[in-house]
């Protein structure tokens, strides 16, 4: 079982990990193409995908049967991971089309009723449901996760520490879920409010300072019967014990493949720069969690339309400038890794909000987002 709690083995996995490998995970809602309602077809799609070995090996389930995830597997770097992921996307969207379903990539489904969703039948998700109940049922959310390989678990934990202040910025840039439960939530990332703010051990973690403290924390959780596998630790940035990676899990799913790739690029650059800062002994900026939470809230509520706080100087700045700030901070590693992400003028939540302002109904807003997804994800060129 990938989540088992052997901490020596985790340290060993990181000791053998290579710096800079990249993995991408993208989650989609499975829809009836006419009504755009969520429909429980994960098991069916998975079964049909058995004809396509490559696709089948890179599909995974994610909590509910109306959700499907594709993973890139281990890429040598960002570009390799994206080439792999484009191939998965192309095959998944073709399969979905052939099976008469559509796929959506927003952080939440606008009107699906969580009470009608079925949890998929796996050991992990049975445990999640048993342990979390309402909190698990409520979590009908879709996101983009990005992994970067980090050699040495101590470096990985310390890189996670440095990424804490970055999480709200990435969230604001990614915001793509204004609706929940059939109404406009008034938020830019209702997903974060519904999932990240309600799961235990989720959101912005404490700073641990190194592997020793992190190890003691996980041992404490195990000793006290709080967890039986490390994947029950859902922090929005975490060392992934089975992969030997730092994983960032803060972002909403992206409506277009171009946005997903730009964001993946920015996340990879951020993780790589954090590791670089650890290696170079750059000063750690470690504000109290309550201040990082101020930015989390602003990202949830206003996304890129609002203002974030420069926590070092106690000054507000337009959230859109978060992109520029992260690009500036990561410039050294981006140069080496050839990562030049380009972001669209408005993120997904902003586009949806502009549509809402023109009087579009939620069904129309969602249809417009789904149209973007169906147009963009299967059609990315496979060669870079």
């Amino acid at each position: 079982m990938s989540g088992a709690l052997d901490l020596d083995k985790a340290a060993e996995t990181f000791a053998q990990a290579s710096d800079g490998t990249v993995g991408v995970e993208e989650e989609f809602a499975i829809l009836d193409p006419d009504t755009l309602e969520m429909i429980p077809r994960y098991e069916h799609l998975c079964e049909v995908a058995q004809r396509d070995r490559l696709l089948h090996e890179h599909i995974t389930g994610e909590l509910i049967s109306s959700e499907i995830e594709i993973i890139s597997g281990v890429g040598a770097d960002l570009h390799d991971a994206l080439v792999r992921q484009r191939e998965r996307r192309r095959r998944l969207f073709a399969l979905a089309d052939a099976e008469g379903v559509a796929l959506a990539a927003t952080g939440t489904h606008p009107w699906a009723d969580y009470r009608e969703q079925r949890i998929i039948d796996t050991d992990h998700y049975r445990r999640v449901e048993q342990g979390l109940k309402y909190v698990a049922w409520r979590n009908n959310t879709f996101s983009l996760h990005v992994h970067v390989g980090v050699n040495d678990i101590d470096r990985a934990v310390r890189a996670c520490d440095r990424l804490r202040v970055v999480l709200p910025l990435l969230l604001a840039i990614s915001a793509n879920s204004p609706y929940l439960d059939g109404r406009d939530s008034g938020l830019h990332s209702a997903r974060t409010q519904s999932f990240t703010k309600s799961f235990p051990r989720c959101g912005v973690p404490d700073a641990f300072g190194g592997w020793q403290a992190y190890r003691e924390y996980i041992e404490f959780l195990r000793r006290t019967g709080s967890i039986v596998e490390f994947t029950q630790v859902w922090w929005s940035v975490r060392p992934h014990f089975a992969f030997g990676t730092v994983e960032v899990r803060i972002c909403d799913a992206q409506a277009t493949a171009e946005e997903s790739e730009a964001l993946a690029g920015l996340i990879v650059a951020s993780i790589a720069q954090a590791v670089r800062d650890v290696d170079e002994g750059a000063p750690v900026f470690d504000p109290p969690p309550r201040l990082i939470e101020e930015n989390m809230w602003r990202a949830i509520r206003y996304g890129l339309d609002g203002l974030l706080i420069d926590l070092e100087h106690g000054e507000e700045y337009p959230a859109r400038a978060a992109i520029e700030r992260l690009l500036r901070w990561t410039a050294p590693v981006r140069g080496e890794l050839h990562i030049e992400p380009v972001f669209s003028e408005l993120n997904g939540a902003q586009r949806q909000r502009r549509l809402i302002e023109t009087g579009a109904a939620r069904e129309e807003v969602f249809a417009a987002s789904v149209a973007e997804t169906l147009q963009s994800y299967p059609q990315q060129e496979v060669s870079v």
């Binding site: 100087h313 106690g314 507000e316 859109r320 023109t358």
Partner: protein, 154 residues
Amino acid sequence: MSADPSASAPSEEELRAAYEAEMSHITSADMVLQAAVSLLNIGGYRLGLAPPPDRPAAGAGSDAGAQARDLEQVRDAIDAVRGLLPILERRRPGELRPLRDALSQLQMAYAREAGVAEKGEDVTRTQSPSPSEPQSPSQPGPAQSSGRLWVPGR
């Protein structure tokens, strides 16, 4: 409509008969469908984008595109098609999917274009700097200048 002025004008009776013959071939639903398609085309044209209309670098478009740009007309076209859709749902359910897709695409393209033009003025509480200078930073926001925000290190 090919009236030859030299020929003797058709009688009122003949005109009426021709008109009725034409009317008997066409249905309201046909006209609604036709109008919807035309409106979608006009809306797409009035976005003023060089094709394809969904590239990130759009907005600049071609010169001809820039001249065609009239976002108010795009909005009119979108609203009109939205008004026509319920009729097509009743009468042409089989032809609805491509129309809906086209409308969705037009709506999203409009949101992108209009949204960039206006840039979220309703939400930020201070005047937000123009998007072309995202770093122009650090003017104290209302929370800070009013002293309500605790500032680390001060």
